[in-house]
């Protein structure tokens, strides 16, 4: 049985609505897009069950939608660091959403080099939630990052899920160095854009 039970169409609807809201407001007055691409997904059944199990929770729709916050996930990938922060502001201002937690891993990179901006939203919906509240409250997680950070995260993810890597320590160290190189490029590109636009 589906871990989200009868709530799957509800959370799919919320996810699509969030994406549409971001798509409709994700540009400057000049028409320039604030982000390069937006992807979104409902955490698949198997991953959600694994995560619940790892957290010591029973596998049911209540826990999937209350104890976990990433059943609905969106990722906003931007060209420049400043655009990431503009998108953060945009998401804060989305109607029917309130930010209940956010972490700036761009300002405070994780020790392995991971950089991104994370937000957990409480989204209000006309449909009742798992506690029977009307309007209902549902969680959604948003990750925002630059293309460079996205490329890095993709590779790090691949390494993490690969079993038995022979020289893991060395690869981790080099990944950390790449994260620092990419961050340097992001910052330099940002600076150059400012210089170009000031002219």
């Amino acid at each position: 049985m589906d871990i989200y039970g009868s709530y799957r169409p509800v959370i799919e609807g919320i996810m699509n609505k969030l994406a549409a809201l971001i798509e409709s407001s994700g540009h400057r007055e000049s028409g320039e897009k604030l982000y390069e691409h937006l992807i979104y997904r409902i955490k698949d059944d198997e991953s959600m069950r694994e995560k619940l199990k790892a957290g010591g929770f029973a596998e049911n729709e209540y826990n999937a939608l209350r104890e976990m916050t990433d059943a609905i996930g969106l990722r906003v990938v931007c060209l420049f660091i400043d655009d990431v922060y503009e998108c953060v502001e945009l998401i804060r201002a989305l109607p029917g959403c309130s930010v209940i937690n956010e972490k700036d891993y761009i300002q405070n990179a994780k020790p392995n080099g991971y950089r991104s901006y994370h937000m957990i939203l409480d989204v209000t919906s006309e449909a009742p939630d798992v506690e029977g509240n009307v309007p209902g409250h549902f969680f959604a997680e948003v990750q925002l990052r630059t293309i460079a950070m996205d490329t890095w995260a993709a590779l790090e993810h691949e390494m993490r899920y690969k079993k038995d890597i022979s020289n893991q320590k060395m690869i981790e160290q080099e990944l950390r160095r790449c994260a620092n190189d990419l961050a340097a490029c992001d910052v330099s590109m940002q600076t150059l854009r400012k210089i170009i636009r000031a002219q």
């Binding site: 990179a109 160095r177 620092n180 340097a184 910052v187 330099s188 210089i195």
Partner: protein
């Protein structure tokens, strides 16, 4: 200090070795240039003291071989007073200093200390200021976060750290970071902007003041 001493005159070798050891150094004495070259291949020394005129291999040839192998350890030559050419050739071969025979042991020891001091300065790898750590070998800047720097940025920031709290002009920075290159004040300003972005990115409590009109200055913000 760990000193390699090459001298073929047995009496002189003995006297100098005894004196330097009495001064707290560890001395390995060899009788000619070839032995000196061999020793540098297997052991790390803080300094070499070498006579020029030696059998088997003279000091200048030995010096050249040592430098060709990439070894940069400080070296002092001992030369006869009359041999100006020897001194020039010795310095050109890679020696850092020389003493003419007869020499004062105290002076030899003082020169060794001076060379050692300078080598230590050269080897400073991590520069620090405020909460900043600049790893000049890895080209890495660290405060709360870590970020990579371009080589020019390392040189620029290294110079700013060495002159922290002081006014530094764009001209000075051009001479230091872009010597002999086709670069102007615009280039300095752009690299200062790059550095400012990176200082902010690692959450440094350090900032670069100054602009087109006023000299630059590295300062702590707290």
């Amino acid at each position: 200090m760990k000193i390699l001493f090459a001298e073929d005159e047995a009496d002189l070798q003995d006297v100098v070795k005894t004196y330097l050891e009495y001064q707290g150094h560890h001395v390995t004495a060899v009788d000619n240039g070839a032995e000196a070259v061999d020793m540098t291949k297997t052991d790390a020394y803080d300094a070499i003291v070498m006579d020029i005129m030696m059998p088997v291999m003279d000091g200048i040839s030995a010096m050249k071989k040592i430098r060709e192998s990439g070894n940069t350890i400080p070296a002092i030559f001992l030369t006869a007073k009359s041999q100006v050419e020897d001194r020039i050739e010795g310095l050109d071969a890679g020696a850092d200093d020389y003493l003419t025979k007869p020499f004062s042991m105290e002076e030899l020891n003082a020169r060794l200390r001076a060379l050692h001091r300078r080598m230590r300065d050269y080897k400073v790898r991590t520069l620090t200021y405020g909460n900043l750590e600049l790893d000049t070998e890895q080209s890495e800047l660290k405060a709360v976060n870590t970020i990579s720097l371009a080589l020019k940025e390392v040189k620029l920031l290294g110079y700013m750290i060495a002159h922290a709290g002081q006014d530094v002009t764009a001209g000075e920075l051009l001479d230091e970071v872009w010597p002999g290159e086709d670069a102007g004040d615009d280039m300095v300003e752009m690299y200062i902007s790059f550095l400012r972005g990176k200082l902010e990115s690692v959450q440094a409590n350090v900032t670069i003041m100054g602009d087109r009109e006023r000299p630059f200055r590295l300062m702590e913000t707290i």
